[in-house]
Symmetry: C2
Subunit: 172 residues, 2 copies
C-alpha cells in the first residue's frame, strides 16, 4: 500500500478563513482573494504572529470544503498520514490533535505526525500548500494545493490542484 | 549531511526510572533490573496505563546519563531530529516539547517530530529502544538502545548499545 502524507493547514484546515476573520476584526475590513493572492501570509496579515500564538487559533479552524469524504476514501486506499508543521507553535500541538479527532475521527493516533521540518518524512505521495515542503519531497507524486500565497508561483515540479475533487480524480 | 533520528523515551528520557518510582509508590517495593528485564513494560508495571496518562509523567522524566553532551556533538555532525511517539498520549505532546526545550535547549522546533507510527520517518541512522520502530527502518544504520524490555531479545538486524558513550564511539 502506498504511503500518502497529507498536510493540515491550508489543505484540511482553512487557515485563510481564520486569518481573514481575525484581520477583519482588527482592521475593520475583510480582505478579498485578490488582496492576498500572490503574497505570503506574513505580507498579507500584519498581525499574523499574534494570531498564530493565540489560544484556539488551530482548534477552531473550519474544515476545507470537500476534504472529509475524500480523506475517508484515501484512508481506505492508501497508508495515510496527516503530517503537520506544529512544533513552531507549541499550543498548536494539542489543538491540532483535538481538531483532527473532531473532524476526522477515523484518523488514528498512529497516523498523526506533528513536526517542524518535513524533510524527514518519507512517503510516495505528498499533498501540501507550501513549496518549502514539496521541494524536498522525494516520493513519486507531489501535489500542490492552491492557496493564495502560492497562487501565482510554479516551479514545474508539482501537480497543482485547486480543490479536493481534483485530488480524488488524481488519486482515487 | 546524514540524517539521524533519535528516539526520546528510553533513549533520552528515563522512562524506567519514572515507572520504578511510581510503581514503588503504589506497591511499596522498588523493582530491580532483574525483576523487569526481558519483560514488556506492560507486563512489568500493572498500573502503567494510569501512569502514562497522568499529567506530568513525560514532563518530569530524568535525562538518561550521558545523553546531553553526545547529542550536542551529534547535532553538529549530523542533520539531527528527535522523533518521539507521542500522539497516543495527548498530554505528552506539549510536555515532551517543554522537556526537550529544558534539557536540550540547542534542539530547535524544526528538529522535533511527535508522531504515532515511525514508519513514515526517513533517515540514515535511527536510535531507538523498540524493535517495532527499528524493524521498519530503511536507513543505513539502526541502533538498539538497551532497556530492560529489550534486554534479552536480538534479531540480528540492529546494533545494540548500552549507553551513550557507545553511541559516541560508533557515530562520532
Amino acid at each position: 500500500m502506498e504511503k500518502i502524507a497529507v498536510d493540515m493547514d491550508g489543505v484540511l484546515a482553512d487557515v485563510y478563513e481564520q486569518l481573514f476573520a481575525m484581520d477583519e476584526k482588527d482592521f475593520g475590513k475583510r480582505k478579498t482573494w485578490d488582496d492576498v493572492a500572490g503574497k505570503s501570509e506574513n505580507e498579507t496579515f500584519p498581525r499574523i504572529r499574534d494570531y498564530l500564538y493565540k489560544e484556539g487559533f488551530f482548534r477552531t479552524m473550519k474544515v476545507i470544503n470537500g476534504s472529509q469524504p475524500v480523506i475517508e476514501k484515501l484512508n481506505r486506499a492508501y497508508d495515510l498520514y496527516i503530517v503537520s508543521g506544529a512544533t513552531e507553535f507549541p499550543l498548536s500541538l494539542s489543538e491540532k490533535q483535538t481538531w483532527l479527532n473532531e473532524h476526522f475521527p477515523f484518523i488514528t493516533w498512529q497516523q498523526m505526525v506533528f513536526c517542524g521540518s518535513k524533510q524527514i518524512i518519507q512517503a510516495d505521495i505528498m499533498i501540501d500548500d507550501h513549496f518549502k515542503n514539496l521541494n524536498f519531497f522525494k516520493g513519486r507524486t507531489s501535489i500542490l494545493f492552491t492557496q493564495p500565497h502560492n497562487a501565482y508561483e510554479d516551479n514545474g515540479r508539482h501537480r497543482r490542484v485547486n480543490n479536493w475533487q481534483e485530488i480524488a480524480e488524481i488519486l482515487l
